[in-house]
């Protein structure tokens, strides 16, 4: 049996896992502290022996009954809690039943729809020929770009903390917490339309300006080629809507100031100012987390948005260089490569030859890899390694440099990289492969 291909794949996977692990240093530190506390709090040997002593027989039946009751209660609580995803862990999503890939364009076939389903139950069904991609996900929601076509969006409302989804189409954007609506975008005609069946959404872009709320039961149409927008009740001239919903009394057209609009057209009320929106349901203002806190919690999209609101470039100058590296990471994970580069470059300018600068160089190398620019990637990984040869990312940089050499298909460079790799990392993830390269290069001489 030839095991080699799987061994090679396994070594590659292990190296990638190690690299991912390198990115979680703060978590490691926290874990170390936690384990140290756990060891310190460990009861003495006598106490452990005492605990291990079996219960008297008379306690067995009541104990079992109590355990059964507790288990039943726990199952009920789990059933309730399981309907909401855990905070802090990014949502996952599937496309047509397969695991979805961030930033990958997805097209619905000509004859049937394609469903994007998120792990919190939210679904976006692309109608035939529609095209979209998921550009960001965090624990509260996602950002989806619809390039063309129509889609039905069903964001599942949450009890513990609000969902935060954003659907973008050309210059228009729809912000939503929990609702059900149809949305369409025709890029050639720059025509935007939205029919809202439940909940409330905020639309921004072109005729909507800084943002307008659309009430349930209404359909709104707009285009960048004409001012304003047209608002009509769902069902009036909207043949593709499934049903005409009942409108709440306080959301009739009259209450929306529709009198001065043309026949069948109504005016939307302005969305609240950003400072007033999303007031906590208790009515008391809670302090908003900083972008640093959001980024450390892995909520990169929100962290990035918060930093942009505060002034991205100002933050790059004002925050500590370690935090600016974090800001670059937030921008990079959010898909904003240009801003990520600005943050990393600011770190390198502000603190040359520091550990943060080496981390920034490594991140710039990763961005270059994303851009399919191996020359630039090599330059940045080498810089990171030269500046911090014993730093936490040094091994990852050596791995990347060796992989880049392998990809170059340049025999001399591969041999040179293999020799350098073995010298610096004889136990590294690619050591076996580097040795194989060395052995291959020597074999013709024998």
């Amino acid at each position: 049996v030839n095991w080699d291909p799987l061994m090679r794949l396994g070594a590659h996977v292990a190296a990638e896992q190690d690299r991912e692990h390198e990115q979680r240093r703060p978590e490691d530190d926290e874990l170390r502290e936690f384990l140290a506390r756990r060891v310190a709090e460990r009861p003495s040997a006598e106490r452990r022996a005492e605990r291990a002593r079996p219960l008297p027989r008379r306690w067995l039946l009541p104990g079992a009954l109590l355990a059964a009751l507790l288990l039943g209660g726990l199952l009920l609580v789990m059933d309730w809690v399981s309907s909401e995803p855990p905070r802090g862990k990014p949502l996952s999503f599937t496309v047509g039943g397969q695991s979805g890939i961030l930033h990958a364009w997805e097209s619905a076939p000509e004859d049937h729809p394609l469903a994007l389903v998120f792990s919190d139950g939210t679904s976006i069904e692309l109608e035939p020929r529609a095209r979209a991609r998921v550009v960001a996900v965090d624990s509260d929601g996602a950002e989806v770009v619809i390039e063309s076509g129509r889609a039905t969006v069903h964001v599942v409302p949450r009890t513990l903390h609000p969902a935060d989804y954003r659907v973008r189409m050309g210059p228009f954007a729809v912000e939503v917490e929990g609702t059900r609506f149809d949305v369409g975008w025709a890029p050639e005609a720059e025509e935007f339309s939205l029919a809202l069946f439940e909940g409330r959404v905020k639309v921004t872009g072109c005729g909507f300006g800084a943002g307008s709320e659309v009430p349930a039961g209404f359909r709104v149409e707009a285009s960048c080629q004409r001012p304003g927008f047209v608002l009509t009740p769902v069902g009036a001239g909207a043949p593709d809507t499934p049903e005409k919903p009942e409108l709440p009394a306080d959301e009739t057209p009259a209450s929306l100031g529709a009198a001065d609009a043309g026949a069948g057209e109504y005016r939307l009320r302005e969305a609240p100012e950003p400072s007033r929106e999303r007031t906590p349901r208790s009515g008391r203002a809670k302090p908003q987390p900083s972008w640093q806190e959001l980024a450390r919690a892995g909520r990169f999209t929100r962290a990035y948005a918060s930093a942009v609101r505060a002034g991205f470039d100002d933050e790059c100058e004002r925050a500590s260089v370690e935090d600016v590296v974090l800001l670059g990471d937030a921008a990079r994970h959010g898909g904003y490569a240009g801003l990520a580069r600005r943050a990393y470059s600011a770190v390198r300018r502000r603190a040359p030859a520091s550990r943060a600068a080496a981390d920034a160089a490594f991140a710039l190398g990763r961005l270059a890899l994303d851009d399919q620019d191996p020359h630039e990637a090599r330059r940045w990984f080498s810089t990171s390694l030269d500046e911090q040869p014993h730093g936490p990312l040094a091994q990852a940089a050596r791995d990347r440099l060796f992989e880049l050499a392998l990809r170059s298909r340049d025999g001399a460079r591969i041999r040179e990289a293999a020799a350098a790799y073995l010298e610096q990392s004889p136990d590294g993830a690619h050591a076996a492969q580097a040795r194989a390269v060395g052995a291959e290069s020597e074999s013709p001489r024998r």
Binding site: A14, L35, D79, T94, S99, I101, G121
Partner: protein, 139 residues
């Protein structure tokens, strides 16, 4: 894993066996977690009636395609096969170590690995990201 290890360190009789002992705990917990997730598929009722597949969480784009595809392929193997495969090919353990970590006989470990390899190669052939990696591999 380390919390369990700290709490049950008294059970470790031979200090030199620390590594396989830790591997055994890891395997036990990994198997329990995989089974828990599989059970959740039918234990938990998902809103909207549509249950999302239990896939690895979305990764940032720079995460390697082969890594993602390997996770996808591994998720289709049975828990014991998946663990044996990961120990052998990703962790680089030899067969004796795999058998010890899984607390099975060497013959059982071999059979499991053989099944896992065959299944993995079959699945990998359907994934373009793994085509180059398994070229030359017998199914």
């Amino acid at each position: 894993v380390f919390v369990v290890a700290i709490d049950s360190i008294d059970n470790l009789q031979e200090p030199s066996a620390l590594r396989p002992w830790l591997a055994g705990i890891s395997v036990h917990l990994a198997r329990a977690e995989i089974r828990r997730r599989t059970k959740n598929r039918w234990l938990l009722s998902w809103p909207g009636g549509e249950e999302p597949a239990l896939e690895a969480p979305s990764q940032p784009p720079e995460i390697d395609e082969a890594l993602r595809a390997t996770y996808r392929a591994l998720s289709k193997l049975a828990p014991d096969e998946r663990i044996s495969f990961a120990l052998r090919f990703i962790e680089g353990m030899d067969l004796v170590e795999v058998a010890a970590a899984c607390r099975v006989s060497l013959a059982t470990a071999k059979r499991r690995l053989c099944r896992a390899r065959k299944k993995f190669v079959c699945i990998a052939r359907t994934l373009p990201e793994l085509a180059d990696w398994i070229a030359g591999e017998e199914s």
